[in-house]
Amino acid sequence: MARTKLLARLIAPLAIVTLSVGVAAGAGAAPDKAPAQTKGTLVIGNISNATGTTSLPSAEHFKVLQAWAKDVNSRGGINGYKVVVKTADDKADPAKASEAIKKLIEDDHAIAIVGQYAGGTASVWQPIADSAGVPIIGGGCYDSTQNADQNFYCVTTTAILDGLLAQAKLAADEGGKKFGITYDSSQPQAAAAAPLMKTASTKYGLQFTDGLGVSNTQPDYTATCVTFKQSGTTDVGIEGAPQLPNLARDCSRQGYSPKWTSGDGQISQNSWLKDPNIKEAIAAIYSFPYLDTSIPATKRFNSVMKKYAPTVLKSDQKQPATTTWTAAIAFEKAAAKLTAPNPTAADVTAALNTFNNETLDGLAPNPITFTAGQPHAHNSCWFTMVLKNHKLTEPNGMKTTCTPAT
């Protein structure tokens, strides 16, 4: 019996990969026959914390960019330029981050850093990219210092106060009355959320109940659950990714199942999807929903992933993957404006600074404008995703909701 299961475990992934490739091939992905590339090569770099301390990015993350590059190159490149993707895992280690960015810029001659997921080490690597004049396009926009940098081109929702406002508004829009949050007290950013969220929820007519500090190492969250239950909290925000399955289990035991609200893509984690105790969760997501196939741009994402990186859409990265993809599309748009035989980082920066109400084929949360020498505006619109009955849906499709810019 055990042996049969073992065999099944070995065969199943192969079957899935084969099937996925087959489906993707028939789903209208780009033709394999590529027109000849006539110009030079565009090397782009990505720096991410793929194997460090945080769980959201992982090695799957790099596959998104590589799949995009394969797709682009299979179409003859961008405006005749072949795209080469170089990736670097900084392991959340500042020394590695410094080494990685220098290698990308000095050795690999990357002309842009695209879809970074290394906010924790940004204070080390970003100044190096800045001083080299290499633009940073997209990726996680979580850090206020990072977002204030004019060399950083955020193309998804600016997830600082905007993210918290988005969560509160979404909770209110979805019928919530009383809002509370639970946060990992040892994690910076999460710890800041309680007072900010109090203001945000009041702004959208919600009554703020409790802000409860927790730790991922707690054996029991019942006290947290009962506190929320006693205060009649209808929506509980999750900040700093506490182990929601454990929290939901203890709350479920108390007959308490609030709507779990979060920002960004953790709602798509497989552990949330399968968990019998997570009855309903809503999320203001900062890049387009991976489920969407309503417009050509999202169809392209899905077909390329299925063709070149099928494991991404089954992993916990399936929603964060769209942040990376959006960054890649932003680069694609900028690169389409390049004409020099060997474009430089300065050329890419100049091209980015021509973005004027750029929608990225509908993938951007709001039209984006970059002007040289001007601070970049926050992107304060966001998409919506709902988890109900262990199924993810996108109730508003590609329609975004906006909160006033901060």
Partner: protein, 913 residues
Amino acid sequence: MQDFLPFIVIGLTAGSVYGLAGTGLVLTYKTSGVFNFAYGAIAAVAAYVFYWLHVQEGVSWQLAALLCLVVLGPVMGLVLELLTRMLSEVGTQYQIVGMIGLTLGIAGVLTLWGNSWSDPGQYVQFPDFLPTETFTVFDVNVGYNQLITMLIALVSAVGLYLFFRWSRLGVGMRAVVDNPDLVNISGTNPLRVRRWAWVIGTTFAAMSGLLLGPTIGLSVTLLILLVVQAFGAAAVGYFSNLPLTYVGGLLIGIAAALSTKYINDITWLGGLPPSIPFIVLFVALLVTPRRLLALRRSPPPPPPHASYRAPARVNLLAAAVLVAVLLFIPDLVGVKLAAWTVALLYVILFLSLGLLVRTSGQVSLAQLGLAAVGAAAFGHLVSDHHVPWLPAVLLAGLIAVPIGAIIAIPAIRLSGVFLALATLGFGIMLEQMFYTQDIMFGPTSAGVHATRPSIGQSDRGYYYVVLAAAVLCSIFVVALTRGRLGRLLRALSDSPLALDTQGTTINLTRLLVFCISAFLAGIFGALYGGFVGSINGTSFPAFNSLTILALVVLVLGGAPWYAITAAAAFQLIPAYVTATDINTYLQILFGFAVIGVGLQARHPASVPVPLQRLLDRLGGRRPEAPAAPAGPVVAVVPEPLPAAVTAGDGGLEIVDLTVRYGGLVAVDGLSLGAPLGRITGLIGPNGAGKTTTFNACSGLVRPTRGRILLHDHDITRAGAAARARRGLGRTFQKSELWPSLTVEENVALGREAAMAGGNVFHQLTARPGDGEVVHESVDHAIALTGIDALRERQAARLTSGERRLVELARSLAGSFDVILLDEPSSGLDPTETERFGGVLQHVVAERGIGLLLVEHDMALVMEVCEHIYVMDFGRPLFDGSPEEVRASELVQAAYLGSDEVEAVVAAEPAGSL
């Protein structure tokens, strides 16, 4: 009340988890004498094996659990028994670090194993195999699985309590820790008992793993951290009392639940509920009476091993070459410059920890917390207060000093495992509660902004700044370890008791080294901040202090070489080996290697002999003379030193001394005098109370009644060091030399310890003229005792007879005018003993000092003593001249055993003789 009661119920259910883990910890400690830091890791092994069998391989949960509890638990127990038995020979520090190494190693292996089932970092649900239906108590739904855990914890605590109290095996398990030899004599095989103890302990850990797994999911890190939280419960039960440990777990659970409910409006206290176990741990260790925290098994002395120290010239040359190479690194390593910069930074951190661990023999698991304090302080100073860079770096170090002083409080009260636990609790508490406060890094990931100096704005420039800092810190630490404080610290590491009784206030020494260590850690934090740019708490995870500690024990060499090696291993290996899981592999390597180092501690790796010879030749050091036979005692009668005694001093006087240990009266109404210019004997059969009397005189035991007078001053309440500084010296029945120091250093400290005394500045460095006084005293004492040929020899390499002579020389070098000699002739042959007696008479005649001699060699006593006191059963029996003692039938009977003696002792009023 309706809102309140549910939280009591919640606290009880959550607290049972701490109680369960805490009970297991105490069980192992109680039965093995070894605090099992690896308890969480062992529980995790069982959880992972269960998961693999049940979820991955489809084995039923009953069979999987049975295999874990009946096969895996006992097998792990037998392996651990063997491991800890071997580690028990090498000192507490290696035991602690060995178990921490085991934790790191197991955690690394399980991480790799877990990665084969799921993506790294992904949440993996652990199967909840117990019934999850609920019942309601005060509006709280309690799961039957929780109830089962509660009952198992309760039954275990009570059952094990009864087992230890009433069953033969249980009593044997306790006894085998206290006195294995006695257990053996009573017909019980101590090895068998110890194996049973470990089998039960690890099976309990395995059960904990299976019961705790469902609460937090399959994660080795979380399981280990969960068990660390249970340390608080164990501390409430002072690591010994099982029911109290269970109660402690419940109290922690209730406190955490209530604080969740009632403090949620106070934002800055958001970190309190999850920090409560660590606060309880730290506070419990601070306030629990020391007698309750007595080590279950006395720590063995540090391994006496010969260590090699290269000649100064070679060290200097090597350092110059290394610095020269490091100057060219920016041109050689390209993009890896950052890794080299961070490695140099870590040299400073390892130096700071090395001062504690390697030099003074203390353990700290809060070093990254201190670094975080320095980093945060630096950030605030440069960003908020615009303090210039250099003063800000130095101030950051100074701001970390008071925190170091707080950590030193448990160091003053506790040692070994309890100090390790207290510092671990403090470090985690700091991280949980304060890292995200505005006073430190603030609540956002942007943290605080740190700057670089104007000459170090570029990475290349900052590398040179850090290199300069690392060189300066290295010079500082080398100077410190080679100076007076270094000698004091090494002596403190070898025998704090001897240092205390030679006149150094050792609590001040401990405080001082913790403060200096904190200063260096703060400097590291500040410079690290400058490297990173903007810093937050994620740069200083408290738990990484375990790896740092393991590394600092693992590497070889003296300061600064160990720090350089450790920093290179920690930072440069991962920089150059690019395997995905290199950090996990290194964790496994460091973890298991540190166990190997512990097992080899009595025969540590050292520089190969041919290389030693080469280095000695290069350094101009002459080969050591072959071991000479013990030189003639009083080979040269040196010029007498100025008399230590001034006219009118009265020597030592004991008045009506009584010492009780609980119900046992060790000394009962003893009065005696040991005036100056006389050798006074104190004799009696074994157990008569002679050593207790000495301990009471030198301040190591508090008298129940009576007074101790030195030169007519009442010193009954003075500490041991203060008595030594007033002129009371002593030797010990069981030699208390400092084995890592040379003979000359041992003898010199006999004088220098009192000079250092209780003054911060005098402990740090010698005053002008001190060196000359010490030198003269050493020469004189060495000449008197005839040990000149042994001067350069490390004390660890001496024979027992030589040790006696060195200990005497150390006392003679001190500025003591009354010296208590506790069986000083044991280990000497008859000829040496005779000469030894001559030395004593010579010293008394020359200096006019007083000696009080406890000795079993009656020939020596009768030869040298002018007056003799006889004790038996703790009470004075007789006193008189040697002739009178020799003629006394009472004394003869005492030695031969007689009913008459007991009758006399019982009849005489205390102190009447």
